[in-house]
Every structure is written in C-alpha cells, then in structure tokens.
C-alpha cells in the first residue's frame, strides 16, 4: 500500500534520512523504532508532505507522492497525527474534529465519521464544547487521533503517541490504538516506547542515525538481544 524506496531527506544542510526504504501492506500495523534523533519524525513528515524528500520515491497505491504538498497527500488517504499532537488549542473539541473533515470527500461523510469517532472515544463526545487546549495530555492524544480519522484515511501515521503521557495513560493510548487497528485501519507508528509498541504491531523497522538498521516481525525483533538491551532496558 505504502512503499518508500531510497528516500533521502533533511533540513537545510543537515541530512536526517539516508536512503530509507520501507513498506506497509494494507491492513498491516508497522512500527519504526529507534533512539531520539534517529529521524523517525522526519520519516513521517516526508510521507505526509511536510518535508520534500531530496531523492527517492514515496509510492502510495501505485502513485508517486514525493514532492506533493501536504494538503494534497491527505486527499490521497494518508492522515498524519503529528508529534506533539498539534491540535488547534483555541478551538473546541467539536471544531477540531470538524477541521479533520475539511476535505470535500470527508465533509460529505462528516456525520458518519463523527459517530464513529465518538463511539471509539466516548470521552470526546462528553467534551464537545471544551477547548482542546484545556484537556489532559491523554485526552488530547485521543482527539488528535480522532481528528485524523475524520478525514476518512486509508492509512494513519502516528508520531510518538505516548510522548509526554503519564504511564497509566500510555497504556490506555496503546489500547485505543489497538482498537483503531481492529477497525481495519492500516497504521504506521513511530515510537520510543519500544516495549509497548512491539506488542501492538505486526512488523517493525529499527532506525538509527537516519538509516534502517534492521527489519523484522515484531515478535522476532523483541527477542533480539541487542534491541532488548539498547531500547527496552531488559
């Protein structure tokens, strides 16, 4: 469904990704794990069009999206839940979700999507008129995911969904992502919380200083000695 081949990207003179290739099949959940500064966020930003890659191809359902602007890439069915959630803090929960359905195709199915999001995250239904900025970190993460679902995506990119959350909330958020998965969405998630994320996904890639170092089934990767030592602290 999504296939990156030979993607190199960066900011100014700095190169954050070197010749990265990865693949996500339809219905699959894939994680990219790695230490801070490995280029995980850059990887998602390249896919969603916030950064234009210097070289390489980003194939989504057969079309090369490299170089397309972000607002056009969403229209192809790629929703990005960015690092730090990036909600509209001054807007209400309901308005944030409304903005998630900004695309004409999504707007046409607004009611249906809204019902789906409220079923998935009942707390959002209770907080419709609350300003997004005044919610707790966990609730904000739910809203960010809910907002992404409003665009009727085919694949969801999640950037560090557990970042900055209390340990109890981390488990809840992973639980919710699992439910989103069960709804049939394809997921590409980037995480530092390696232990939790490997329980969630089918396959994972290990990214280190901008290069893919390893790839494998989540269970196999979790068994690898050096992954355990380096990232899981076991």
């Amino acid at each position: 469904m999504l296939e990156l081949s030979g993607v190199t990207a960066g900011y100014g003179h700095f190169t954050a990704l070197w010749d990265v290739s990865l693949r996500v099949a339809e219905g699959e959940a894939v994680a990219v794990v790695g230490p801070n500064g490995a280029g995980k966020t850059t990887l998602l930003r390249v896919v969603s069009g916030l950064i234009v890659p210097r070289s390489g191809r980003i194939l989504f359902e057969g079309a090369d999206l490299a170089g397309h602007p972000a607002h056009d890439i969403v229209a192809h069915g790629i929703a990005h839940v960015p690092e730090g959630r990036r909600l509209f803090p001054g807007l209400t929960v309901a308005d944030n979700l409304k903005m998630g359905a900004f695309l004409p195709t999504a707007r046409a199915r607004y009611r249906e999507s809204l019902e789906r999001v409220y079923t998935l995250f009942p707390v959002l239904a209770e907080r419709q008129q609350q300003r997004a900025g005044s919610m707790s970190g966990g609730e904000q993460q739910m809203l960010a995911i809910g907002r992404a679902l409003m665009s009727q995506p085919k694949i969801i990119l999640l950037d560090e969904p557990s970042l900055g959350l209390a340990p109890v909330m981390v488990l809840r958020v992973f639980d919710l992502i699992r439910r989103v998965r069960e709804e049939g969405y394809t997921i590409l998630v980037v995480e530092q919380n390696v232990r939790q994320v490997l329980k969630l996904v089918d396959r994972a890639y290990l990214l280190e200083v901008g290069r893919i170092k390893m790839e494998g089934r989540a269970a196999e990767l979790a068994e690898q000695d050096f992954v355990r030592k380096a990232y899981m602290g076991v």
Partner: protein, 287 residues
C-alpha cells in the same frame, strides 16, 4: 461644562468605535492568519473611498450602488495585495514583509496624488439629524455604526459557524496542522485576504459618510487602527473589538473636554502606558 456635552461625546465615541472596530478587525484577521501587518490597510480603504466618490459623483450612480462597487474593489484589492506582494515574500524575514507593505503605502499615496491631486473629495449626502433629549444624533454617524455592528456580527458567524471560517481560525493557531487536514494554505490566505479587503471596502463606504477622501487619508486612521490592534493584542479579535471602543471614547471625550488634538494625544499616551502595563494587549493573561 454642561454634562450633556459629555453624554453627547460618549455617544459619538461609541458611534466612531463601530467603524474603527471594522478597520481593526480586518487588519487583525489578516495578521492572525498571515503574521503580517498590512501597513497599507487603510490606504486600501482610501482607494475604496475614491471608488465611491467617482461612481457616485462623477458617474451618477446611486450611493448604495457605489457602496457595492467599494465592497467589490476592496475584495479585489485584498486578493491582489496578497498575490502580488505578500505571496512572493511569504517565507522571507518579517521585517522585509513589513517594509513591502510599507512601500505599498507610499506607492498608493503617491499614485493617488498623481491621479487625483491632493484635493479633498466629498460625497454629499442629505441625511436627517435626530435630536433626543437635547442630544444631537446625525444619521451620517448612526447608519455607519449600525452597519458596522451588523458586519462584525456577520464576521463572528462566518468565523465560528462556517467550515472555511473555522479553518481560518485554525490556521492562525497552527499553520502546518491545517495543511495536514487537507486545506491548502494558499487558498486560506486568499480567502482571508479577500475578507480583509471586503471589510476595508465596507469601512470605506461607511467612512465616506463623515469624511472627505484625499491621498493621505490613510495617515488619519492607519496608525490609530494599528494601535487598536496592538492594544487589543495582535491577532486577538475580541481584544481589538473592545480596544476600538476604548480608543474612540478617549478621543471623543478628550476632544470635547480639552481639544480634538489633545483627544488623540491622550489616546496615544494611554496606549504607550498600556504597552508597559500590558504588553500582550488588554485581554492577555497576566504572568
């Protein structure tokens, strides 16, 4: 002094505040979304006033039709300023953007002087005045005030109830996130500039009731509009609305109690003091 003069001044302040609010909200809306202050904003208003003058006085169109021309002219000018001046320098340093719109100000003033001379041009309207309990209320002030308030209400509903209006508020909070929602930033900028221009056109149509137009009209209201925006907190629409009435009241009452010039002096002094007390604007949360 007869207290009736103070009451009359206070009412005149409110009536002036309505039109000032329109100018301040237009400028603030554009700043909120684009992070650029259109220094030449009131000079666009000046062009719109000339449009009314020519269509009404020279071509003999009825005033309402000339007013519609002003609205159209404002909208087109707003979009043109964005596409021709702002858009090419959107990613350059803020100071350059400021200088570019400042350059536009001098260009517009000089072009207007060249084309239409420095003569003050007036649209003559024969409208009645009302006297209630000894207070003199001319329709040339009541009508612009009423239309301004209706326009502000319309703007409120546009920004809170429509998709594109909500998107405009969203972009002003997080530009990148809105493009992840599928909104083309350029499209939002154009809509914002068009709405800002439309408000300039409406302000022009309302100011022509009370003021004559000349090439340096922008100097009369430009700095005042900018100060209202800063006083209300740049980008803060509610703050700008309240600040419009604060400034207009100070000018109106100060003008009656001391003199018209002193009214402005007091308003500007209070503005400077407020910048020390509340640099983030009147509605900013205290640290």
């Amino acid at each position: 002094m007869d207290p009736i003069f103070l009451v009359e001044a206070a009412i005149n302040g409110i009536l002036l505040g309505g039109v000032l609010a329109l100018l301040a909200l237009g400028l603030n809306l554009i700043f909120g979304v684009l992070d650029i202050v259109w220094i030449a904003y009131v000079d666009l208003v000046m062009l719109c006033m000339y449009a009314i003058y020519f269509f009404n006085v020279a071509f003999g169109w009825p005033i309402w039709a000339a007013g519609l021309v002003s609205l159209a002219a404002g909208t087109i000018l707003g979009v043109a300023v964005h596409l021709l001046i702002i858009s090419p320098i959107l990613t350059s340093a803020p100071i350059n953007q400021l200088l570019a719109t400042g350059g536009l100000l001098f260009f517009l003033q000089s072009a207007a002087t060249f084309l239409w001379t420095t003569d003050h041009k007036t649209v003559r309207l024969s409208l009645p005045s009302y006297e209630i309990a000894g207070i003199f209320l001319p329709a040339t002030r009541i009508i612009p005030f009423a239309i301004s308030i209706l326009a502000v209400i319309a703007l409120y509903f546009f920004l809170t109830r429509t998709y594109i209006g909500t998107a405009i508020r969203a972009v002003s909070q997080d530009r990148d996130a809105m493009s992840l929602m599928g909104a083309s930033p350029q499209r939002i900028y154009i809509v914002t500039s068009a709405v800002g221009g439309l408000m300039a056109g409406l302000a022009g149509a309302l100011l022509i009731f009370q003021y004559s137009v000349h090439p340096f009209f922008g100097g009369q209201f430009g700095p005042l509009t900018f100060m209202i925006c800063v006083l209300g907190g740049l980008g803060n629409m509610v703050g700008a609305f309240i600040a419009s009435f604060i400034m207009s009241e100070i000018i109106a009452i100060g003008g009656v109690v001391i003199s018209t010039e002193m009214g402005y002096v007091i308003a500007f002094v209070i503005f400077i003091v407020m910048m020390f007390v509340r640099p983030g604007g009147i509605l900013a949360k205290r640290e």
